[in-house]
Amino acid sequence: MFAWDKDDLNDEQVEAINEPDSIFLVACPGSGKTRTLTYKIAKELSILEDKNKWVVAITYTHRAADEIKERIENLGVDISQLWIGTIHSFCLEWILKPYSGYHDALKYGFRVINSYDTEELITQYCQAYNQPRISYFDCGYYFTSSGVSYSCAPNKIGQVTDIISQYHANLISNNQIDFEQILFFAYELIKQQPSISKILSGLFSYVLVDEYQDTKEIQYVIFGEILKAGLGRVKAFIVGDPNQAIYGSLGGYAISIDELRSVTNITIREKELTKNYRSSSRIIDHFSYYKVHNSGIVAAGELEGFPSLITYDQLLHKDELANYLATIIRYSIETLAIPENEICIIAPWWIHLASMTRSLSSQLPQYSFNGPGMTPFARDEDNFWYKLTKIILTEPSPSLFIRRLRWSSEIINCLIDAGVDASHITSKSLLRKINSIRIDEQDGLGFLGIMFNELFIQLNIDFNLFSTLKEHHDTFFESSNKRIDRIRNENTVYAGSITDFRKVFKSKSGIKVSTIHGVKGGEYDVVIAYGLLEGIVPHFNDSDSSSAHKLIYVIGSRARKHIHLISEQGRGTQRYPKVPTNVLNGHQFNYDTE
């Protein structure tokens, strides 16, 4: 059996891992939640005797899945009986693909539409509506077990409902489904065919769910039905932090233990991880103010007594923002000796970040930045060609071999799903082919285009014949070109050579630039956040009164040592200038002054 060193885990973590019953684990920030999850999976894998059973772990992102998988491998545990991935991958792999024949909407095959194509399609339908004007961003929706929920303002619901139903009709006529429908159809299958949850419950020994606080109701029902069908044979390990539930607008919410018990009908024990190893007490004191759930948190790490700098600026004008950030960055690196990859700049919205990243990188050419505006091509993890790009643009090296091999077999599975006869391709032969192709093209996107063609000629596959591949190909280049145009329009020097492209996949380096949602799970010595304005934090459409609390809680809990909060002036219109986020403004805290 898998064992760990005494110092690897604290008592709370060990208790959670050794609990024989199912567990509902509330973990405060910095409490080693991922570590606990990783060790729990490793332990359950090591005692799994039935070769026909799987430990299933559902993570919020592909990246988290990859990381946990690698960590478990590094612990020396065989991961062949581990299935780990996002809820969408879970539904695709375990429910939609094997059981699509039992759903009328799926039985003649289906393709998953790219998020970029969704945006294009919905935007197109939006154009027919003027009063009020509807944009793509109004059209967020998600399914619940009782129907569709829209995240737009109440006055737009009628129009958005129309748009979404036109959009759905279009998808159906093309045998396509989008990400929300993956969940919806999986839910329908599970509900209509009780055999499916019975069968799956016979296949799983454990279902682990990370970040439950961002899980949607329909997702709780999907894995809840499986757990229920298992009659207690399948154990659950549900972990997360209700204080960090920031995906309410997409339907995510922190389920209560009672509701979880009634959804799963199994015995579940409630436990807590309360020791924060990340931040100083001063930082914890600050963000604890924003708690919405009364879960425990105590400083327990080396930085407990660290003299943290916590500043809050409400006077700065937005035009001064770049200069001010540059000053903080310089000060942190040059005076406080913080490494650049330990600094994180956070803003609520993506649009605030892209241009900021670019102007910071021209102000601070000596430092590098790792942010959304810097990626010259669409970062769509589910796009086939993005996945392939990941292999093409990483250097073949012994340390990456296993990971690239895994990506390679993922590519082969995608090919098979697309209907390609891939029986002659192995993950090794595919890697070898990719490594052996030499192309003398300096332009990054041009390089990829030639590379894709050359590779498929060598594989003897005409990808244009397979609609999934063709659609993804079109999308990949269309969205990348748009992105490059945007970067060019903003007058920065377009860094589009193949060397720049390769940098995208180099391991995390440079100053991180991220949205609040994107920084989830991360930790940095220094956190700088701006755009903390009412209407942005919380979002003007957000009806949940506690969402500003949670967003600031997430920002605040990322920092180990120092945090700088900014509610800048000059945003909004002349008549309606945006004001600092109320909750933040109302917090009486002994902020540091520069």
Partner: protein, 737 residues
Amino acid sequence: MHISKLSLINYRNFLNAKLLFSRGINTLIGENGSGKTNLFKAIRLLLDNSMPRSAIRLNEGDFCRKLGDWRGHWIIISLEFDDIKDDEVSQSLFIHGVGNIENQAVAKATYNLIFRPKANIRQALGLLAENDHISLNNIRDNMTISDYETVITGKSSADFNSPEVYTSIVGDFDSVVFPRYLQSPEVGSPIPNVLSMSDEVSFTFVKALRDVVYDFRNNRTNPLLTLLKHKSGEIDPTDFAPIAVLVESLNSSIEGLPDVSEIKVDIKNTIDAAVGDTYSPKTISIKSGLSDEAEQLFQSLKLFVDESDDGHEGSIDEMSLGGANLIYLTLKLLEFKYQKANQSIANFLLIEEPEAHIHTHIQKSLFDKINYPNTQIIYSTHSSHVSEVSKISSVNIIGKVNGLCTVFQPSTGLTSREIGFVERYLDAIRSNLLFAKSVILVEGDAEEILIPILIKQVLGVSLDELGITLVNMRSTGFENIALLFHDERIKKKCSIITDLDALFFDATEITTDTDAIKKRKKKARGSQQKGTERKVALDAFCNGNDWISPFYAEHTFEVDFIKYGNRTYFQNIVDDVYSDAFTITTSKNNLNSSDISVRGQRALTMANHQGKGWFAITLGKAIDFNVYIPEYIINAVKFSHGTFSNDILLKIITYRFNRLQKFASSTRESLASNPAQGDANFHAQWNNYLLPLERGMAIFQPKLFQFIENGGDIQLLKAAMISDIILTSSNMILERI
């Protein structure tokens, strides 16, 4: 769980075949070349992990030749499993991959190999306009086997054997309508990566004439080692500890043998002497390497068997082939028993022709006693001696219908009572009819003995050559067996030959009749009455079934046989039947009578005197090529066999011509060598008889030779023989075939 159905579409010999299996033991009956091996190959492609992975990649030669142009068509091999439950946790993975959900529950599973054009081709076909044959031909002409892909799917809901379903999945080539969708639920979903069928079920194929001794020697195929491997992991360490100690002391005892130490010293000295102290190794020892690991020790275990009950246990190499095979099969079965504990959810054993391995008596008891749960055995055979053969509810028959390999289930649609009757009735001899190409059912010994002789003598070909199996029912209960021949069951022709028992003498009672005569007449009238009733019933039974037809002897075999000729044959054996001189004379006179009531009665009396069977043998010896075959018999043969092929007709004509020639020349010889035997008149009569015959033969012979040399229209040749050689009996048979 067991295999309940195998469907083969366009695969090798099979254009469209459906085999049904039940749990336990199943029999596959088929003549050679009927495709049994291909059928096993099909199952193995799906289940046998000892087949190379590349085997599922089919090629052009795998398409059924009867299909014609294969391009665009699919090959489908589909297995269906029964006895499946979705709350049976051990089956979860299997069901996840291949289980069919119907009415909110899983009761069966399907597992299919589909060889079809790749998606781009199917898409192109799907876009064709209806009746656009030009574009279709264009696509098909450019298609090669590299445009094909193999997919393995589960959960298919389609009945692939239905031509309509095939058309809806694959497309309609006649009207150029192809499915628009690339995927259809009928075909099933691809097997998820997590399912590996060979981990779920265990499968063993025992091919005919396996070299079992080799298998025992080979570590990979030795079933004993597999069994021991299962067991060695379970050994209690405390049980094994003393053995390990023994092995250790054994090793040191061996090492301590004086000869061994001596050799050790000698080696060391020789090296020192040869290379000198500096370069020679410092120490050398000889160690005994008997392993103290259970698994390795177990490898030294060998099976010794006392086969001949003489107290000597020999190794497998010394055993008879049959004995070794028996041991092999037994160990395989035991392996299944262990595997059951080892989580495999079902065991499948395919045996090709066990009669090639094991003596039939042993087979009988072997199959009778095998009763492992979750173990299904499917074996092929062409021996009617395996007891399981008669269990028609678990029998599949492979045969050719119109040149197409077809599979029948002889028990389809029968009630369990009917099946029970058939199974009890089919003994080793009668179960021959399951192997037959066609069948004639007869009611008694006389027919059983004489019909083969008549056919062989007259046509020169045996019933076997005609593919006809004659089965003696020893009663008139034909319906119970004949019901097997049916559109739903065995699609082979079956003639039924039976007696009408019509009166051939006046059975009206008159006052002068003695009691004995009265009794006989009454019985005869009764028989006639029953005969008529039987005919009504049998005609009704056969009506509407193209596979069976009744043929009636007007009276009874012996009477019908003598009714239209053949009296010489009876006369020739009177001496063999009777010894009393008076009876002999009376009999000869009776047989000469022109009145059928007299000579028919005599024929019957002779048969009853000797016993019908023995009499038939006596008569059989006397029969020659000129015998007259009663019409109903030749009709029965024609119905069973179908139209005579040109080859067979030529064989018959040649045979009859040779016989005539031989007859003519030997008669001439005996006339010449024995002039004293008869007077001039006798010679003249023979001459008159022989001359036209010889003349005719002289005219016909070159035509026959010409035909044999160059071929031609066999019907013309037949007509020529009839017109050239004037001989009533010969012409009659020729006209009738």
